[in-house]
Amino acid sequence: MNWERLNLSPRITAALQKGNLNSAKELLGLSVLELQALTHLSTSDVQQLRRAAARLYCGAAPVRTALDVRNSEPGEKLSLACPLLDALLHGGLPLCGITELSGESGAGKTQLGLQLCLSVQYPAEWGGLGSGAVYICTEDAFPIKRLRQLITQQPRLRPDIPQALVHSIRFSDNIYIEHTADLGALQSCIAQRVPVLLSRGLVRLVVIDSIAALFRSEFQADESMERARHLLALSGTLHHLSHSHKVPVFCINQVTDVIDSPNPGRCEFGLVESRILPALGLAWANQVMVRLMLWRLEGTVSDGDQSCAPRRLEVVFAPHLPQASCLCGVWLEGVRGIPDVVREDPGASTLTEALCRPVERDPEQKDGSMVS
């Protein structure tokens, strides 16, 4: 580091060299007293030095206003490939930050993850980002059969897009699948292999299915400090990836049962009477920007010759969205929202009630859930 660039008096530059301070970053991380001990300079000298280093570190770019930001970053989003779901999320997933989707097993989380991997490959005018996706599996094997099915059904899911365009994209060539069986493998995958894919422009979506599985299997109940530390490190890497490459990071999460009475130490995110909460607790929740939940409801809905269990996709929190939800179903061609017409039909009031109530299941039958 060449301190001459700071235009400080030679006395201060000499003191810096004597104090063995080599970078502005190192200097800024020290308190005044630590700096004085190293350089033997007076307080005012140290403050002047710190200001100069700060100016060097932050660069000369003027401070931007919200208006500049709005004009230069036109609210790009990644579409979920369904107008109703996109409306719920104001256009889709934001490009910066971690979006989490949690829900019980069988709610349809993986389905949505796969759908995003296809949706990202369309050009921007159709809600995509014109690039591939990396799908990191930590639980089961990648559902390759289902992916093939979804690819063949794309024309049906996206009737608005010209068929020639849909057929011209080689979907399965642009999905990079990683299996990571332990935390170390996951860390090295997102710290080394994923950045390579991102910097080559091969990928503009990172899906992790699921984030909870490894943390739940590798740590004992009394290792919560250690677990929190690893969670922070992992989320830090994801955060950095997302912001430096402008890619959405979509993390699928499991849920945990609520078995005890209200507890002041438990954060409920406003889901007061809910039987389940997203797994991994407060440490992880602090790192998430958009939290979504998917609930499987009672009853069936049908569309043509297909029928499925209704689901509810809910926004738990997000900096730009109100808390709201939307009904959806998992069909052969993918996840699609169900319009709210049922409610207006007076004869269907019982169905509406059924649609609004989550399925009551025996807690012991639930897989992937753990006592909180």
Binding site: R11, A24, G29, S31, L33, E34, Q36, H40, L41, S42, T43, S44, D45, R51, A54, Y57, C58, V63, R64, T65, A66, L67, V69, R70, E73, H90, G97, L232, G236, H239, H240, H243, P264, G265, C267, E268, F269, G270, L271, V272, E273, S274, L282, A283, A285, N286, V288, M289, R291, R312, E314, V316, F317, P319, H320, P322, Q323, S325, E353, P358
Partner: protein
């Protein structure tokens, strides 16, 4: 070397000056205990007495001279002020309204200018929403009871969404225009109070690690001198960069304490409100777990006011139908309006104008833990204004 002003340095000891520690030791060893002893000396004499070079001696005298210059603290130290003067000054500075009368009355009229405030809460409770709301509210024209200031938003979590600012700004403009009615000066003020104008008066800095945040904080004094209309600085959040990358927690505490002191100083010197958000963490104590603000005990002393947001019976479970929810909110609103004191006329006007546009209402319990002006207490309030922008107007 010019003379050091006598009345300010008379009592100052060499040990308390801002000289480097090694120099202080040399001076004291040579018998100079108070700064006054050095007053009449020339660099040549000093260098002989203490055994330093001529240049170093000149530097020592210069440093002592800068020490003696009056600090820009609003004249608090220089001559002392009476309590009455302080009160008047505080009232003249005003405060930033939150658009939520219960919260405003809890804070004594809004977020105070010239002080620091910390907002803590679990994820999703509305910390960022409150910050964005304040960044817009600080720009409300004077004739509506606002400050007509500018704001600086330092985003460390990456959760600042311009899209949301546009929503909030649009709602604020809409509601002020409802109040403008016939009053001439208000109509005139409304011409300048537009969404574009609000966005152009909101400065944004993004910091992704603590070093960048510290660097920006050292540059704030010059930023504030260049933009004297800034009345609010938001740091959302202080916890995010400081809760990672630290192995040595005592180092973190030292940096945080210094930062807190620096921010408090900025708030008084430049007459700005500084709002910091903080995350929550679980503390296990005697086998019981409890949610407490993060960054440790000593950080609890950092800000003049600390606001903790909790949920109180927020939403009912997702099985409740929409109509029921609406009815329940209706009931809650009636109850609240009967018991709530009405602090200020223009605010009440605003409150009423929000009611018809209400979609998503949460109930928060706001526990105001304040060191400065308010007693402790819990308050119930809605954050409807925060969400009113999402409402389809009937």
């Amino acid at each position: 070397v010019s003379c050091i002003s006598p009345q300010r340095v008379m009592l100052r000891t060499v040990a308390s000056s801002s000289l480097a520690p090694s120099v202080k030791a040399k001076l004291i060893r040579a018998g100079f205990c108070s700064v006054a002893d050095l007053q009449e000396l020339r660099p040549g004499q000093l260098s002989k007495e203490v055994g330093v070079s001529q240049e170093e001696a000149a530097e020592i005298l210069k440093t002592l001279h800068t020490d003696a210059l009056p600090v820009n603290d609003g004249g608090l130290v220089a001559r002392g002020v009476t309590a009455l003067e302080l009160l008047q000054r505080e009232q003249a500075q005003g405060s930033i309204v939150t658009f939520c009368s219960a919260l405003d009355s809890a804070l004594g009229g809004g977020v105070p200018v010239g002080k620091t405030m910390e907002v803590c809460g679990p994820p999703g409770v509305g910390k960022t929403q409150l910050c964005i709301q304040l960044a817009v509210d600080v720009q409300i024209p004077m004739c509506f009871g606002g400050l007509k200031g500018q704001s600086l938003y330092i985003d460390t979590e990456g959760s600042f969404m311009v899209e949301r600012v546009v929503d909030v700004a649009r709602a604020a403009v809409e509601h002020c225009s409802l109040l403008a009615e016939d009053a001439g000066n208000r109509r005139k003020a409304m011409k300048e109070f537009t969404v574009e104008k609000i966005l152009s008066c909101l400065f944004l800095m993004r910091c992704h690690d603590y070093v960048k945040l510290l660097a920006q904080s050292y540059l704030l004094p010059s930023f504030l001198s260049e933009h004297p209309e800034v009345r609010l600085i938001v740091i959302d959040s202080i916890a995010y960069p400081f809760r990672r990358d630290f192995e040595d927690f005592s180092h973190r505490t030292r940096l945080l304490n210094a930062l807190a002191q620096h921010l408090n100083q900025l708030a008084t010197q430049h007459n700005v409100a500084i709002v910091l958000t903080n995350q929550m963490t679980t503390k296990v104590w005697n086998g019981q777990s409890k949610m407490v603000p993060a960054l440790g005990e000593s950080w609890g002393h950092a800000a003049a006011q600390r606001l903790i947001l909790y949920w109180e019976g927020a939403r009912s479970s997702c099985s409740m139908t929409v109509t029921d929810k609406v009815r329940e909110r209706e009931r809650e609103r009636e109850n609240r309006e009967c018991s709530e004191p009405r602090p200020n006329k223009w605010l009440v006007e605003l409150e009423e104008s929000f009611c018809p546009h209400l979609t998503c209402v949460l109930l928060y319990r706001l526990a105001v833990l304040s060191k400065s002006s308010r007693p402790d207490g819990g308050h119930c309030c809605h954050t409807r204004s925060l969400w009113s922008a999402h409402t389809p107007t009937p």
